[in-house]
Structures are given as C-alpha cells and as structure tokens.
C-alpha cells in the first residue's frame, strides 16, 4: 500500500511527512526544497504502509522536472494526502480539483491553519469537506496539531467521478462559501518582506544579511575551534596518541599509518598524516566547526524565507550567466557541500541551466570543508591571501558563466516563483535540520577523509607521488609554478578537497604558490562524491563536456595567476 503526500510547493508536505513517519527530512521556507522522493513507513489498519513525500507541483500538467516526477508518481498511489495551504486556498484548490478529476483516492490536510487564523483568514473546514466531497482536516504540521486526526481518518479517503467544466468558476464558488477574510494592517514582518524585494531597500538589506552571515559563521567556527576542539585534541587526544606512538616505538609501518610522521618529536595534526591524527583532526576539529556554523546560518535564512527574495534581487545578474534568480539556491547550498548544491539544481527548469549551474558549482564554488582548510592555510596573510583566493574564484564564476551563456545554445527561462511570507525560524526545526546536516557530513565525509589519508600513506610509501610528480612537472611546475610534490594534493583532491589542502601545509609554499594551489585545487575536478552526483544528474556525455571545461579553465586560470601574481 502506498500513500502519497502531494500539493503545491512550500505548503509543508515535508513537515507533515516527518510528523507521520518520525523520519527527519529537510524542510525549508521556500519552494522546491524536496527535489527527490523521500520514503518512510507508517502503521495503518494494522499493516505497514509506505508513505512518499512527493515534490511540490501546481498542477498535474508538469512544467518542471520535479513536477514531472510528481505527475508520474500519482499513478502508483493508493491514497493521496493532498496538503493545501490555508493561507492560499484558491491556488491550492486548483491542484485539489486536478486530483479529484484524476479519480485518485484523496484526503485533504488543510495546513498552515494557525498562520491563516493570525492573518485573519477564517475557513469553514466542514463546509469545505462537503463541497469537495472528500475529507478535510485542519492541521498545523509545525506544532503537530491535527496530525492524529489526519491519520485517524485516512481510511475515509475518497475517490470521486466528476469533471469540473468551469474550473475557476468552481474554485471561486468554493472559496466564497468557505472563506472569510478580515483584512488587517500589514505586520512588521510583512513590511520587511516587501522592503527586501524593492531594490532601494532590498540591496542594503541583502548586504547587511550577507555581512552578518559571514561574521556569524566566522565567529561560531573560530570559537568552536579555539574553545572546544583545539583544547580537546591538545589535552585529551594528544597524550593518548603519544602513548600509542611510544607503544609502537615511534616508527615503522603501523606507526606511520596510525600516527604518521612526528614533526620534531611531536604530533602535528595538519602534517602527520596518520589515520588517528590528521585523519580525525581535519574532519572533526578543522572542518566540522565551520560546517556547523554554515548550516546554522543557512538554516536560519532558509526558514525565515530569505532565499527566494535574494533570488529576485539577483535575477538580472544570474541571467548574465545563463541562469535565473533561483540559480542562487544551488550556489548557496554548494558553499556548504557541492553534492547538495548539484542535487538542488533540479529546481531549475531546463537541462541547459542545470548543466551551467553544475559546471559553475564544480569549478568555482568551493565547499565549506575546503573553505575552512584554505582559511587555515592562507588566513594568516589576511585579505591578501584569503581575499585573493575568493576574489579569483568569484571572477572565474562570473567569467565562465558569461562564456557558457554565450556558447551553449538556448536561453534561460524567466523566473517564476512563489515568495513565501517571512516566518520566524522555529528553534526546534532549525536545530533538527542543522543536526541532520552535520550528521550527514560526518557519515559521508569521514570515511572519505580516512580513505584519503590512507591513500596518501600508500602513495608516499611506494614513492608514487614522486614518480607522478616527475611526469606532471611540465604542467604543475612550469605552468603553475608549484613544486613537483604538490601533485600529491591534486591526486588526493579527487577523494577529498580538505585533506588535499592539508597536504600543502608541509610543502612550505610561498603566498603566491599557496594562492595558486588553493585555486586550482578548487577548480580542476570535483571531489568523488560531487562527481558521482553530477554524473547521475548530467549523464556521461555532458559530464565529459563539463570535465573538459574544468580542465581547460584550470589550466588557463592557474597559468594566468602564475604570470600576474
């Protein structure tokens, strides 16, 4: 038995899904957060039933990829829970009538009920139930109100055989009969919402928000490192590691593998390259604090509903690089992790846009793991180091985007997006989301980091890096001005960019070399996880094209930097 959750974008399907199944899924206050199906199970009539969270759609005639999958999915559902937005009844009902006409077995969850009441919208749910001919249950998914009743009445879900001749007339009739609106003044939050999309006020607001975000991410990240993780490793982990080191008599294969090289008789967490030292320190003490900080800030912005407003402000710029405003969402998510960035390109309508977005993402949007490591590497040079790296990345993003928009045939469609009202972020929801993303990072990244460190050890033990260094010297040394050993970082960069950046530490590079190495490490190839995600989204042929662009761009930018810095 299959139960589908369907409805317009951003009506809270994912929150209801979490409530029903206990399975946590990422939900945000903007259109298109769910681009894939999430499955879970519930007990219903003493049997297990599969429940699927379907991406939002406005109608059964699909216009985007996410909507296409939704329409396709409908055929498989035994019961459809149609989630509708009480604050936007008219728009929601069009999809409800689509579903009723299709003959599906339906129960309606009238969600965001509490906000509708606050807004002065009063809906007679019983009357709506009579007029639609299917059960209607008011819910407030965020607090869990009405969810029990929804489950309790699941078996009352009904299928009807009707055709609505005058669709909009029918909807107008229903709305007029069940809904009473008492108009009130705009709330401060609503006024702030309007001000965020008016250029004269919106651009300053955007700058303030971006500045505050960076400031907060740095503050949280640095504090966590300085007050929590550094002391933790220093005072708890190091003594333990030194004991193991002594036990292994300070050398030998196993020592090198677990503890790594001692630098002047001590463990240097960034350089030792042991599984238990660098392998744990990099993901946990160097990267995780920034991952946490980034996702905390991103989740606040998401749940507030800022991202679609940023999309409106950025629309004109994004058109220049072949995307429309919503293209800022994959870019923002990509700053956290390129994998989730690549997956979120599904909110873009055309294949062309998705190709451009993913290629730009892979080349010129470094992920937080990499940013954290680069910050550690060149941060001490201040704006001259970090500023140069990120300004270069931005120029690459812009230049490459302009170029791709020119050479790839076709046009980008116009923005067409619902702008949800600002909603105060719910602390519990934000906390849960950050926790899920941090957990995801640890599960996905930790194994690859350890694998990367293991790989480094094998490469060095067998002298492979030195040998490859000789072959690649014409490019790495002549073109980019880096020492031969830097090729080791490029090899490991296929696995994890953070470990790769760490490998630059013992090379004693000059600032110029550090900048070049950081930039080409970001550009030349995505990490294996991003590569897999892109391959799945783009297919082999477009992936090859994208890789070709990456290599060309890296060669060009790397040698240019070597010339001008």
């Amino acid at each position: 038995m299959k139960i589908l959750l369907m409805g317009n974008p951003n009506v809270g399907k994912s929150v209801i899904f979490s409530r029903l199944t206990g399975v946590n899924v990422i939900a945000s206050n903007y259109h298109g957060t769910t681009v894939e199906f999430t499955r879970g199970t519930i007990h219903f009539n003493q049997k297990k039933a599969e429940i699927i969270d379907v991406p939002g759609t406005y109608s059964l005639v699909p216009t985007t990829k996410a909507e296409e999958v939704a329409a396709e999915m409908l055929k498989e559902g035994d019961i459809i829970i149609n989630v509708i937005d009480a604050t936007n009844l008219e728009r929601s009902l069009n999809f409800t009538l689509d579903l009723i006409e299709s003959g599906a077995t339906i129960i309606v969850a009238l969600n965001i009920w509490d906000e509708a009441c606050h807004k002065g919208i009063n809906i007679d749910a019983d009357k709506l139930e009579k007029m639609l001919g299917v059960p209607v249950i008011p819910t407030c998914a965020l607090t869990g109100e009405g969810i029990k009743e929804l489950v309790g009445r699941l078996n009352e879900a009904k299928s009807r055989e009707v055709e609505f001749k005058d669709r909009w007339g029918e909807i107008g009739n229903i709305v007029e009969n069940v809904q009473k609106v008492t108009r009130r003044h705009h709330t401060p939050l609503e006024r702030l919402g309007d001000a965020s999309v008016i250029p004269a006020t919106g651009i300053p607001i955007a700058l303030v928000i971006l500045f505050l975000s960076f400031w907060l991410i740095r503050l949280i990240g640095e504090s966590l490192i300085g007050y929590v993780f550094d002391p933790l490793f220093e005072f708890l982990w190091t003594p333990l590691m030194m004991q193991i080191s002594d036990l292994l008599e300070g050398g030998g294969f196993l020592h090198n593998l677990l503890i790594g090289q001692l630098i002047e008789g001590k463990i240097a967490y960034m350089e030792s390259m042991g599984l238990l030292t660098t392998g744990l320190f990099v993901p946990i003490a160097a990267v995780l604090p920034y991952i946490f900080a980034f996702y905390f800030v991103l989740s606040l912005l998401e749940d507030l509903g800022y991202l679609p407003r940023l999309a409106v402000l950025m629309d004109t710029v994004m058109h220049r690089v072949g995307l429309h405003g919503m293209g800022v969402i994959p870019m923002m998510l990509g700053l956290g992790c390129n994998v989730s960035g690549a997956l979120s390109t599904r909110i873009l309508e055309t294949r062309r846009e998705r190709f451009i977005a993913m290629t730009l993402l892979a080349i010129s949007v470094p992920c937080m793991a990499q940013i954290a490591m680069v910050a550690g590497l060149v941060g001490k040079y201040g704006i001259k180091g970090l500023g140069t790296v990120f300004f270069t990345m931005f120029l690459v993003w812009l230049g490459l985007g302009l170029l791709l928009n020119r050479i790839i045939r076709g046009e980008s469609p116009e923005i067409f997006v619902d702008i949800a009202p600002y909603r105060p972020p719910h602390p519990k929801v934000v906390g849960k989301k950050v926790w899920m993303r941090v957990k995801w990072f640890l599960r996905e990244a930790l194994p690859f980091v350890l694998l990367g460190v293991l790989f480094v050890n094998i490469l060095y033990t067998f002298g492979i890096i030195q040998r490859i260094g000789k072959y690649t010297a014409p490019v790495v040394t002549s073109l980019f001005g880096l020492p031969e050993e830097a090729v080791g970082a490029l090899i490991v960069g296929f696995l994890r960019k953070d470990v790769a950046v760490g490998m630059l530490v013992p090379l004693n590079l000059s600032l110029k070399q550090l900048i070049i190495a950081s930039v080409i490490l970001a550009m030349y190839f995505p990490c294996v996880a991003t590569f897999a995600a892109m391959l799945r989204e783009l297919g082999i042929w477009d992936m090859l094209k994208s890789v070709g662009i990456m290599l060309l761009a890296t060669a060009g930018v790397g040698s240019l930097l070597n010339l001008i810095l």
Binding site: S59, I198, P199, G202, P308, V312, L313, V417, D418
Partner: protein, 79 residues
C-alpha cells in the same frame, strides 16, 4: 479595449484589476495557476531595474515573475 496598460508601467505599491493577459495558452495557464487572471486585483510589490523580475501580490500571497511575463499582464489604466 485600449483602456489597459501593461503591469510594467504601473508604479510600485499600486493595486490594479487585471484586464487581460496577452499571450498564448501556456502563459495564461501558468499565470492562472498562481491566481493571476482576468478581473482579479493584483498589487505590484516591486520591480528590479534592467528588465528584472516583478513581484506581485495576489490573494494574500506573493509571486515573482520575469519581466517578459509581467509585460503581458494588462491592467486597468487607472486604479
């Protein structure tokens, strides 16, 4: 029927009744889905410079649409 003007020419913050939508079935349908249709009142919340998108308030919620689409929405010349 020449009493209407394009939404592009309406000032930010003004509320106008939609007279018609110039365009094919696809565009009319897409806008209808968001509640933008003939005889409905819509408010222009903002517009971006250089043919940027327009934010419209309709039925208590807001949508952003591209310049090209906004241009095809014809509203009453006078509120």
């Amino acid at each position: 029927m020449n009493d209407g003007i394009s939404l592009i020419r309406v000032r930010t913050g003004e509320d106008r009744r939609v007279v018609r939508i110039m365009g094919g079935y696809g565009i009319i349908r897409k806008l209808n889905l968001l509640g933008i249709k003939e005889d409905r009142n819509i408010k222009k919340v903002s517009s971006q410079p250089m043919r940027g998108p327009v934010v419209i308030e309709v039925g208590g919620s807001q949508v952003a649409i591209g310049y090209g689409m906004a241009r095809r929405i014809i509203v009453e010349a006078e509120a």
